[in-house]
Structure formats: C-alpha cells, structure tokens
C-alpha cells in the first residue's frame, strides 16, 4: 500500500563519514545505517529521495550569530588549540569536539532540515524527513550537547515564513532546550518537549514551570519525566497532551524531533520505550494530516537508532515493515536476532500514576490559560497564498525556477489551514 501522502526524504552519505572522536557516544554512522535499512526495506520506492543542499553560512546565521557560524567554519582540529577563549565561549571541546569536516557536517544536516521546510512550504510534499537533523541543543551563540547548528530552529524559521504558527514536538530523552530557548518569547512557535528531567540529567532545563515569557508565555510546554517510563504511560500522556495542544494551538505545520535516545537500551537515555511505542508518537502526529517535518535527534545505540528510524519511515509511509530485517550490507549490526522491533526495557518505572497525573493536569492548566487569556490571541493569520522569502542564494542563481513551472506543482488536494481562519479576527496591522 502506498501512502497517499507525498513524502520527501533527505539524505547525504557524507554525514555518516564524520567521527566525533573515540569514545564519543555520537556516531553519525548511525545515519548511514538508517538510510541503508530504509533502502533495504525498499522504502525509497515509495517516497522521493533528495540530497539536501549544504546550507550556506548566511542561512545558518538566520538563527545563529554570525561570529559563531564563522568560527565553526574556520576551526579545525589542528587549529583549535590556537583559540582557547573562543573554544570556551562557543562551548566547543567537551561534548562538542571539533572534528574534521565539522562544518560540512553541520551544513548538510541543517541544509536537509531547511530544504525539508522549504518543500513543505511550497507544498511539494506533505511530510519531509531528515534523519540527520534534529540537533536540538545548539544555542544561538554556542554549541551544546553534541549539537553545533540548530537545524530545527532554522527549519522552523523557514516554516514561519508561510505558517503563522508552528508546533514543535520533541520526544528525545533530553530536553529540547535550544529550540525552546530560541522561541521562548514568541507565540508563533509552540514547543512541546517530553524528556527526562532531574538527577542532573542533561541539559538541566525543562522544568514544567518554564512556560515561556512575554508573548511566548504558555507557549513552551515541558513534560518532565523520570526514569523508566514505558510505552503505555508515555503514549497516553503524549496523545492526551498533543491532541489538546493541536486543538488549542491550531498549528500550520508540525516539526517532530524523533530523538531515539528515549528508546530502551540507549546508552545515554533511561526510558523504557520500545520502538513501537516510540513510533506510535510518530503515527499519532501523522494523523493530524498537517505538513510535517520529521527529524532525527539523539540516539546512541546505533543499531536501535537505525531500527527505530527505518520503522518510523515506514510509519510515515503507511508501510508495515516485516520484523525480520532483510539482507543488507549491515546485517551483522543487527545480530543477534536480526529483527526490527525492539522490546521495551525493564528499568523500574519511577513515574508513578499520580506523578503523571500531576504533569498532565499542570500542562492542561497551562493550555487553558492560553485559551482563556485575552492577550494571547493569535497575532497573525495566514494569507491565502504563501510566498517564501529567499535571497541568500545568489550563489546559485542558475538554479532558480520560473514561476510557471513552480505553480504547476504547488497544488494539493487537501486543505491544511482550515483552522487558521478561526483566529483572523485580530490583526495588528494598525
């Protein structure tokens, strides 16, 4: 069965050819494994596969400070010792080492997410997938938690050119602090992060009480969880919250960060989710039938990452994948059982029913504030037709397309923005 949605999938093999360093848990090779598994299951025949462009520094600077981008571009493992103060200022070195081809790596994964957003914007696809993206910790002026460039923020900024409101959902085991921080003051992006919180777990932010400020007050939702949450409670909580959020917020597009470190058996994570439980979130979000940008994220047991994202690619394609992993060049990585699904873990679940209940109540309470607060009416309403902005690509003027060709392909049979007109009673174009 082929999904009726049109799926764009972004991949560039070069992301897999970087190495963070010995003993560093981040293994970009997992992206090769994921891609290969996707191909092994024949999923490429059901979607469009693209090689993303390498984001130009100026595109990265849409969010990041120019000096930081410049430094990333310039620094190499051989020169890093010459810039101790910059290294410290930009938080490079520890979690975020400088390695060969670092900047190209950033350009590719960020380019993938930006391209994904642009294709969504132009309605060239319904769902865009960039497993290389999802580096949600990166800050405006600093690297953080294995993340250098925050492709999610860049992708969301791109989506904001067309969509009045974008919903960001994060199921990485770590808090999506970089994205939350970037959009902490705005009501045009709602961030919802489900993550482990407490015990000094990285990155330390993500308390339920951090709800955003200024215009963005109540537009940051944090769902702090404890060790060992299992499929059942996670999915129930996820569905309750997300359905309420979508109903309340009426986003024009959704960005879903699928960090696979929330799976059982992850090297850094501490949840009990099975791959099915993880994928259930993806399935659920897909059901809203909104333009959806799906990215990867964390995930430090790489076979499981590949399993998870391949299966989720299948979910997005409405394709059930056989549990037995087909022959492929990496089959040895999937020993001993060579199966796709991964059972949940059996760490003690420290999330008591009452704890989950409290979280749920608090989040709902905040959402209600958003609904009833007179001041938070959605500021902007989308026009009927969205036109993107783009100027930075002077470097590639040849690749522009003429309007007609363009127009032919931006039709679609379903209307995504039905909800947006509910809020068009307020414009402040005074």
């Amino acid at each position: 069965m082929r999904s009726k949605d049109k799926i764009s999938y972004f991949y560039d093999g070069d992301v897999g050819s970087v190495y963070f360093g010995p003993n560093h848990p981040m293994k970009p090779h997992r992206l090769c494994m994921t891609h290969h598994l996707v191909l092994a299951y024949g999923l490429h025949s059901k979607m469009e596969v693209y090689r993303p462009h390498k984001a130009y520094p100026v595109e990265l600077a849409q969010f990041h400070s120019a000096d930081y981008v410049e430094f990333l571009n310039r620094i190499t493992p051989d020169t890093q010792h010459l810039f101790p103060s910059e290294m410290a200022r930009y938080n490079l070195g520890e979690d975020c080492p400088v390695f060969d081809n670092l900047f190209e790596f950033c350009q590719i994964y960020a380019g993938g997410t930006i391209d994904a957003a642009r294709r969504l914007n132009n309605q060239l696809c319904d769902i865009a997938i960039n497993w290389a993206g999802g580096l949600h910790h990166a800050k405006k002026c600093a690297a953080s938690g294995f993340c250098y460039i925050n492709d999610l923020v860049l992708g969301i900024l791109e989506l904001l050119k067309y969509h009045p409101r974008v919903l960001y959902i994060d199921i990485d085991v770590h808090h999506g602090d970089g994205v939350e921080e970037a959009f902490y003051f705005t009501d045009r992006v709602m961030t919802v992060s489900f993550h482990k919180y407490g015990d000094k777990f990285f990155p330390g932010t993500g308390d339920m009480k951090d709800t955003g400020e200024r215009d963005g007050r109540f537009y940051s939702i944090n769902v702090p969880l404890k060790d060992g949450i299992d499929d059942g409670s996670f999915n129930r909580l996820f569905k309750t919250i997300i359905s309420k959020v979508v109903e309340t917020y009426l986003p024009g597009a959704i960005v879903l960060q699928c960090g696979a470190d929330s799976l059982a058996g992850d090297r850094l994570g501490c949840f009990n989710l099975s791959i099915d439980g993880h994928a259930e979130c993806v399935r659920f979000v897909k059901k809203f039938n909104l333009p959806l940008l799906v990215t990867g994220g964390g995930g430090y047991t790489k076979e499981n990452v590949a399993r998870c994202w391949a299966l989720e690619t299948g979910v997005l394609l409405d394709t059930e994948l056989p549990n037995e992993i087909p022959d492929n060049d990496y089959i040895k990585y999937f020993a001993p059982d060579y199966s796709l699904k991964l059972p949940g873990g059996n760490i003690e679940n420290l999330n008591s029913k009452s704890y989950i209940g409290t979280i749920k109540m608090q989040v709902m309470e905040n959402l209600r504030c958003l609904q009833h607060a007179p001041g938070v009416q959605m500021q902007e309403v989308p026009p009927d037709f969205y036109i993107p902005d783009f100027d930075e690509d002077e470097q590639n003027p040849d690749e522009r397309v003429d309007q007609h060709t363009q127009d032919k392909h931006i039709q679609r049979d379903d209307e995504y923005y039905e909800g947006d007109h509910d809020n068009d009673n307020h414009t402040d174009d005074a």
Binding site: P22, P25, C32, H53, T405
Partner: protein, 801 residues
C-alpha cells in the same frame, strides 16, 4: 506588523508624561523614536524605551535637557547621537543589549552620570573621555568585545563597581589602582594573565574581585602585594553580613579566582552526562550563565539557602506575593534555581542597579543583569531598601544558615532548576509575518539535488521528483519479497551460510541496481555503505589500517585516528571514517557476534581491540573487566549455553557457516552468480573473513596459548552477558523464543525445516575443520576447554573459532 509609532499617542498619555516626567514606552514595538516625546522637552526626567526595535536615537534628544534617566536597553541601537553630551542632568544611562560598537567621545560631558550600563553590546573600545565621568559610581561593560580598558578609567574617582565580565580584556591599565573607592571588580571570562601589581595595595576599598574564566591562577593572585589586607576586607564584609543576618549567596564566599588553570572545566560542578561508564561534563552550564549572567539565579538561591525551605514552598510564596504580575511565572522557577557553578562571584553586586526600571511596574523580563529583573524577583519575597552602596543587596533577611557556603551549597545541589537563558544572544529573530509579499516568486531554488535522476527525466527538477511509484514497485516486487523474508525461500544448498547470506545481499544489491539504474544506485549511497567500501582499498592498505588501529588502542590513551592520518596521507578523513565503520567495525562486528553475541555493543569501538588484541588480558574495557570469569561460572551456566548453542545455530547460522565457507571454498566458485560477484568485488568480500582473522592474529600458530585464553574470554563474556540483565535480556528473550520452538527437536525450526538438519550436522563437524583451516591449533584448545568445561563448551568454542 503593527507598530505603535504609527499610532498617535493619545493626549491623556502625553499629559501623564508631562505631569510625572516619566515616559515609559517599554515593550511597545517601536521602531522609531516617538516624536511626541520631544515636545515635552524639559518636563521629561525619565525616559524608558526598553525592549523596542529602535535602531537610532534622533539628535533631537538634546531637547530633553532635564533628562536624568535614559533607559534604552534591549533595542537594536547601533550608535548613539553625538550630542548625547548635552544631556547635562543625566545620572543614569542604561544601554544594555543593543548593538553599540562605540560610545561617542561626547559621553565625557555627562559629568553627573552616576551609572552607566552598556553590557551586551558590541563595544570594541571605550572613549578616553570616560575619565571625565567623575561622578560615575557604577560602570557595567560586561559582555562586549573589549580587549582593553582606557587608561583614563583611572580618573573615574567615584567608581565603586566595575563590571567587565565576558570581554576579551588581556590586561588592566595600571591606572585602575587609582580607584580608591572601588569596591567590586568583576572580570570573569576575560583573557587576563595578570593584574596590575599594586591593585590590592592601592585600591583600599576593594572587597570583591571576580576573575573566573581567566588564565590567571589563584597562586598568582595570592602572591599579589596587599592580598592579605584584601582578604581581611573580604572576610570582614562577610562577617558583617553574617552578623547582621543578611543573606549570603552560596557563592557569596567565593574566592574570586579559579583554583585551577582550566576555569571552564572546574566551574562545572554538576556537569555530567553518563558516557561509557565515565562521565561527560556539561561544559555548557557555565556558558549559559556566562553569556546571560542572570543574577536572578543567585538571588533565588539566596532565598532558598536562607529560608531553608523546600524550593516548592519558596516558589509558592513567591508566587503568591508576586500577585498577577506578568512575570510571576518567572519567579517560580527562579525560586527553585540553584546555581551549578558555585564559585562565580559576579553575582554579589550584580543586581544593584537600575532600580528605576522597576518603577514602572514593568512586566519586562529583560535578561540584562542590570535590568530590574533581579529586583522584581526579589520584590515579592520581601520589600527591601535600595541603598547606594553595593551592600544594599544584602537586604534584611534572617540568616539562619550561619554556615559555611559549601555547606549551603551542598544542601542546595540536590534539585537544581536551570533557567532558560534569555536575551538577544539566545532567542531567535523571527521573520516578520506578512513580510513576504505575493509578488515575489516562490522560491524553490533547486537546492536539492535529486538523488533519483529517473524522477527528474522529462520533467523539470521540481516537478517530477516523485519516483513514479507503480513501475518501480513492480520492478522491485520480487526484490521486496526477498529482502522482506530473508533466508526463507533460498534454494542454496548451504542455506544460511555466510556465502549464502552474502550471495543474497549481493543479489539484493544487483536487483536494486537494475531497478534503480546505476546512477541512482550510486547516488543513493550504496557504494558507500557496507563492506564494498573495501573495494577502494588495497589489501596492503587494509592490513595497515588494522595494524594501526590495533596497535593504538584508545584504552591506552592512544588515538589511532592521529596515526591513521599519518599512515594514509592520500586518504581523506572521510575515507578513513567510512572504511572504519563500513569495513573495519562491520567485520569486527561479525567476530563479536560470534564471540560475544549477547553482549554486543558495536558502539564500543574498543570491543575488538580489547579481546583480539589480547596480547594480555589486562587491556579490558570496563565491561570486560567484570567478565573475566573463571571456569566455574561458565560451568554453572551450562544450561544457558545450551540455549545459546541452539540459538546460535538458528540465528547465527550466518556466522557459523562462515567457517564452513572457509572449508568448502570450491562450492561457491562454481556458481555462476557468484562468479560475477567475485569479479565485481575483487575477492575481498570473500577473503575478508579469513584474512582479517589472520591479520588480527598474525601469529596464531605461535600464540596458540593465547588463542585459548582468548576463547575462554570470549566464552566468559557470553556467560557474563546472560547475567547482565539490561541489554542482554533483550537478546535473551528472543533467544528463548526461538529456542522454545525448536528445543524439542533440532531441525524442526519453522523456517528451515529439512534443510536445517543437514546443515546443523555439518556445522558440528565443520567447526573443527574450519579451525584447522584457520591454522589455529585448536585441537589442544578445545581438548583443554573440554576438560575444563565439558562437551558443550567445546562445541560452542569450536564454532567461535
């Protein structure tokens, strides 16, 4: 986007401005200066334009000759009007969080200026005329790009507090020693190697120095002349505070200088993320604080430390008294906040400023350390007096915890709440809604290069990106079936053997290649994935690679990457990484699957080096260390071994048969398909297993003892894995399942049916034979193992071999 500047300010507002003298236009989305203000001329005493979008301040500002407080924080102002100097009454200028690169020389005319705050701008230098500011009490130039301070700063005789954190200052001018009133000097995160030698001796009021994040060391600092006196003053201050029951932050007794030469690292007190049994520092913790330096953190910490309440109750209290203030939500987290980096001292005085910003009851949550945020955060907790001296900060709270700060700290560190950093260095700048007019061309750039040229054909690159699914699906139909159900409908005699598996992998590749076309196939990355990568490497290179990796184990503190780069000057890092993961690790993984199937962790780069490299058993990784299990353990778990065997036969047949493959090389050579394959992959795929074994154990024959040792370890690792619950349990569950269905009669496996029987019987023999072929002297080995462990053990062993 609406903008108030276009709206006429109503008369009532103007008359209120006129009567109060306070013009407050915070958070008004102003892009230009509201002209109405100039009409008020001399009546304006306070002008607050915090958090707008102004780029410029018009020259007409000089009309406001009575202006005493000018607050322009958090705009995007790039330069100040040069006639700023005409604002003769100005006492307070707050310019934090703009984009100012230079202050005008005319600044020096503001002789009444008492507080100047220009933090978080882009200042590269200060004007020399700053020395004329004889009334200046507070100067905050933190978070700029300053490399030095002007000599003239020594003429600001009234200066009591100088905040210059987060710059790149390399040296202080000696004239700073003239500042006899100076009480607090904050220079965290600069580039200071040394201090003016007379600083502590001459600046007799100095009580607080913060020098974290500088190259200067504690030793250097302590050896400065006058250190003892300074230390006494510093302690006196604290004693006084303690005596009078004021609040002291957990950082309050900070010594001001990092104890170690690597400040960033040592500052991280909670900074760990579990990694490979070791811990990985946060690192970023500090940077957050450094970059935004929110004094609130420390304030709230004080509340907690003093009140000894649970964070929750403080929060409630703060919330309650905070009332409906817009930022009450902010207060809650504040109250819970505890600092991670306990030795940052800048907080001591950082909130002592801009009291006027609170006057308006503003709801801003400006992140500037100089803004009212800190004050607002405190306000709900208790009213306090704003004094002019830095000490005002230690407002009257009962100091019940008359304890050393470290105790306070430790009592606080249990449940930290880290704030979301805010400020222009944190939040994204959003594209304005509606800025994209319909007239523009939709841009889809062609930036993505399509990986499916077939989809490109005929149509333009934006149109036909979809792979036309139906034909493709048909083409892939068989293929899809095959890969979906591997090892099922295989007609190979040696079903499940490594050759068989490889054959099918290659068949799958070929079918895909046919279906996709060579170009797409390559574009999709097939040539860069899997052991085919080895095709691009010569055998000598491969051997060298293995050698380099094995001889430089990370566990011994070596980094084989450095050596690889040297040994392979013609290879790019990408190629090296690609080979490492696609060939090296993958092959190791095959080995691992055999040796240690239930304890697999291919993320552990070291697994192999450790076990294979086992010239001595000492080089074991953490996991392995525990698993050097003696024979009894192995013995005890014999039943497990049975499962394991069964499982092995069924699941690992690939690897098992690998040995058989070695044994019967002729059989595959005679196959047509296979011959092709061999041609395309110059024999490497097939030789690889035997060859890498050899390369890893070049002296197998000589080292037969070691082989034994190794095997025992391999076995014991497995045994151990059964005991380790976490990861292995996953595998085990599955094993059990398989086993359960097959234990009754080997060979009755659901899928392999009749084929399984002969295969497995062969395999029992083959283990031995293949070992022989590997020129490993295994006869004594398994005999010995048999003696120790019993028959089962040998069987298991032989397959491993």
């Amino acid at each position: 986007m609406g903008c108030q500047s276009s709206k006429a300010v109503d008369a009532a507002t103007i008359s209120r401005w006129r009567s109060t003298g306070i013009v407050s236009l915070r958070d008004s989305k102003l892009k230009t200066f509201p002209d109405e203000v100039f009409d008020l001329e001399r009546s304006v005493r306070t002008l607050d334009l915090t958090h707008n979008k102004m780029v410029e301040i018009p020259m007409e500002i000089n009309k406001l000759t009575n202006l005493q407080r000018l607050i322009l924080a958090d705009n995007i102002i790039e330069r100040l009007p040069i006639n700023l100097g005409l604002l003769e009454s100005l006492k307070v200028a707050t310019l934090d969080g703009n984009r100012i690169t230079n202050l005008p020389e005319e600044l020096g005319q503001l002789v009444k200026l008492e507080r100047l705050s220009v933090s978080a701008n882009l200042l590269t230098s200060l004007p020399d005329t700053i020395g004329s500011l004889r009334s200046l009490v507070l100067l905050n130039i933190s978070n700029n790009k300053l490399k030095f301070l002007p000599d003239s700063i020594g003429s600001c005789f009234s200066l009591e507090e100088l905040q210059a954190n987060d710059n790149s200052i390399e040296e202080l001018p000696g004239s700073i020693c003239n500042l006899v009133q100076l009480k607090s000097l904050c220079l965290n995160n600069n580039n200071l190697n040394r201090m003016p030698p007379n600083l502590l001796r001459e600046c007799k009021s100095l009580q607080n120095i913060a020098l974290h994040g500088n190259p200067i060391t504690m030793d250097q600092f302590q050896q400065m002349e006058g250190f003892q006196e300074f230390e006494i003053r510093r302690k006196m201050k604290f004693d006084k505070q303690i005596d009078s029951n004021v609040i002291i932050s957990s950082k309050g007794l900070d010594e001001g200088v990092d104890l170690s030469a690597t400040p960033i690292l040592t500052k991280t007190s909670v900074p760990f993320k579990l990694i490979m049994g070791t811990k990985r520092p946060f690192g970023k913790e500090d940077l957050c604080e450094v970059s935004s330096k929110q004094p609130r953190h420390e304030l709230s910490c004080k509340l907690i430390s003093v009140l000894e309440l649970s964070p929750e109750s403080v929060a409630v209290e703060a919330y309650a008294s905070g009332g409906d203030e817009d930022n009450s939500s902010r207060i809650i987290p504040d109250a819970n906040k505890k600092p991670y980096s306990h030795n940052v001292a800048e907080v001591l005085f950082s909130s002592e400023k801009e009291t006027e910003m609170g006057i308006h009851g503003s709801t801003s949550n400006s992140s500037w350390p100089t803004s009212s945020t800190s004050e607002e955060d405190i306000r709900p907790e208790a009213p306090f007096h704003i004094l002019t001296s830095p000490e005002y900060f230690y407002f009257d709270h009962p100091f019940r915890a008359a304890a050393h700060h470290r105790e306070i700290y430790s009592s606080l560190s249990s449940n930290p709440h880290k704030m979301v950093p805010i400020g222009p260095d944190c939040q994204a700048e959003l594209p304005e809604w509606g800025a994209y007019s319909n007239k523009d061309k939709p841009f889809i750039d062609g930036i993505h290069e399509t990986l499916n040229p077939s989809s490109q054909a005929g149509k333009n690159k934006f149109a036909g990106r979809t792979i036309s699914p139906m034909p493709k699906m048909e083409l892939l139909a068989d293929h899809g079936k095959n890969i979906g159900e591997r090892r099922v409908e295989c007609s190979c005699e040696d079903i499940g053997s490594i050759r068989c598996v490889r054959l099918h992998i290659i068949e799958a590749r070929e079918i895909l290649k046919l279906a996709l076309g060579e170009e797409t196939f390559v574009n999709l990355g097939f040539c860069d994935m899997g052991e085919v990568v080895a095709e691009k490497w010569s055998e000598e290179e491969e051997e060298l690679f293995h050698e380099v990796v094995l001889s430089n184990p990370v566990s011994l503190g070596k980094n084989f990457w450095n050596h690889l780069v040297i040994e392979f000057p013609s290879r790019s890092m990408k190629e090296l990484v690609s080979y490492y993961f696609n060939v090296f690790i993958l092959r190791k993984r095959a080995e691992q699957n055999r040796f240690d199937p239930l304890n697999i962790d291919s993320d552990n780069d070291e697994w192999h080096e450790i076990v294979d490299d086992a010239d001595e058993g000492a080089k074991m990784t953490d996991e392995d260390e525990d698993s050097v299990i003696e024979s009894p353990a192995y013995h005890n778990d014999l039943s497990y071994n049975m499962i394991h065997e069964e499982h092995d036969r069924r699941i690992y047949d690939e690897d098992v048969r690998e040995t058989w493959e070695d044994y019967k090389p002729v059989s595959f050579g005679s196959r047509k398909v296979f011959t092709d394959v061999q041609e395309s992959c110059p024999g490497k795929l097939f030789d690889s297993n035997s060859s890498y074994k050899l390369s890893m154990q070049p002296q197998d024959q000589v080292l037969s003892n070691k082989v034994i040792e190794q095997e025992v370890q391999g076995g014991s690792c497995t045994t151990d894995a059964a005991v380790v619950p976490s990861e292995s349990s996953l595998g085990k569950t599955n094993n059990d399942k398989h086993w359960a269905s097959e234990i009754a009669g080997m060979g009755s496996g659901a899928k392999h049916d009749s084929l399984l029987e002969p295969c497995s019987s062969k395999e029992w023999d083959i283990g031995y034979l293949s070992c022989a072929r590997n020129e490993v002297d295994l006869l004594p080995t398994h005999t010995m193992i048999e003696e120790v462990f019993g028959d089962g053990a040998w069987i298991y062993k032989s397959r491993d071999g």
